[in-house]
């Protein structure tokens, strides 16, 4: 039987510190992230986007499918470390977030759907299935 010889195309992982997007408005944040993703890179963003920015990212991604050759969308996951904190812990992270301008206890992973087939997550771990 002939074995599948389909190879994974080249890709890079780009770490994006929150300081890179802190001063940008929502349009520019999304543009910056999508530009990296369109270059076949997986973005690992320190922190997370605002909720409305995540929605905008999904909407803008949909608008690009069919207009950019080979682009099929994104895979997206946010892991936040603030889940089971008690009141004092929540207050402390709230103050830190206010000072830093974002939720730095979180990590956001965004990759092109052509490379990241699936992001499997549960509260404690995250798995990227590449293909």
């Amino acid at each position: 039987m002939k074995k599948s010889t389909k190879k994974l195309k080249g890709f890079t992982i780009q770490l994006l510190p929150y300081s890179e997007i802190r001063s940008l408005d929502s349009d520019d944040r999304i543009k910056k992230i999508l530009n990296i993703v369109l270059g076949n890179s997986i973005v690992i963003l320190q922190g997370k986007l605002r909720t409305e920015e995540e929605t905008r990212l999904i909407g803008d991604t949909m608008a690009m499918i069919g207009h950019i050759k080979g682009f099929k969308g994104i895979e997206l996951a946010v892991i936040s470390g603030n889940g089971g904190e008690r009141l004092f812990g929540k207050m402390r992270s709230g103050i830190l977030n206010a000072i830093s301008g974002g939720n730095l206890g979180a990590i956001t992973i965004i990759g092109p759907a052509t490379i990241v087939k699936e992001i499997k997550r549960n509260p404690k771990k995250i798995e990227l299935l590449l293909g």
């Binding site: 909720t51 409305e52 995540e54 929605t55 999904i58 909407g59 991604t61 949909m62 608008a63 499918i65 069919g66 099929k72 969308g73 994104i74 895979e75 997206l76 996951a77 946010v78 759907a113 992001i119 499997k120 997550r121 549960n122 509260p123």
Partner: protein, 213 residues
């Protein structure tokens, strides 16, 4: 001062009268193939005798936002009129090749993918207009999906009351507890839209939910 107090009183009394008469916009949101249209159809069939849209095993069957005006839901003597809004499934990726697996022709698959991407954009646009939202999740799937989290986070930011429905509880793999654990701040109701299972509890929750508007 006195005129203001009287004015406020009338606004409150008559405002509430008109508010109660208006239909409540109830949106159905969730990922593709979770059973949003099946649930909307079940409700419409129960109270109007008509269905809202077609359902299919192929994802993205609903690609336009669909409406059903004046659906009067009665439950234990309570009555409320709703405008039901069934939305296309929200996804972060759409690949026409996925539809080929369902023996669709290439041209039809491409058309479906194009319509589905527009459907997601429209569904997002409609978020702002809802009074309450029923987030329909497939109880057999992993709920820790960023689309689910993003939808629910958006609704919370807009202060729109949310009820989470864990659909497909008739299936052996269904796990409501996993959904409850993923979204502990929300009420989760397990139903089977296909077989009409546990809809009484669903209607009861809807009447509780509208008090939060």
């Amino acid at each position: 001062m006195g005129i203001n107090i009287i004015g406020n009183f009338f606004t409150r009394v008559f405002g509430n009268v008109f508010k109660n008469k208006k239909s409540i916009k109830m949106g159905f949101y969730g990922p593709p193939n979770a059973g949003k249209t099946s649930l909307a159809n079940r409700i419409c069939k129960d109270f109007t005798g008509e269905e809202m849209g077609t359902v299919s095993k192929i994802p993205h069957e609903t690609r336009n936002v669909q409406f059903k005006e004046k659906v009067e839901i009665t439950y234990k003597g309570k009555k409320m009129t709703f405008k039901m809004i069934d939305t296309p499934g929200i996804a972060t990726k759409i690949d026409y090749e996925d539809f080929l697996k369902y023996k669709m022709k290439k041209a039809d698959s491409k058309k479906r993918a194009k319509e589905a991407t527009q459907g997601v954009i429209d569904a997002i646009k409609w978020l702002d207009d809802m009074n309450i939202v029923v987030v329909v999740l497939d109880a057999t799937e992993n709920p820790y999906n960023q689309v689910n989290i993003t939808i629910i986070g958006n609704l919370a930011a807009r202060k729109i009351p949310v009820l989470i429905v864990a659909n497909k509880i008739d299936l052996r793999k269904a796990d409501i507890k996993r959904i409850e654990a993923a979204f502990p701040e929300y009420d989760v109701i397990g139903v089977s839209a296909r077989y009409g299972k546990n809809l009484e509890e669903f209607y009861e929750s809807i009447f509780k939910l509208i008090k939060k508007i």
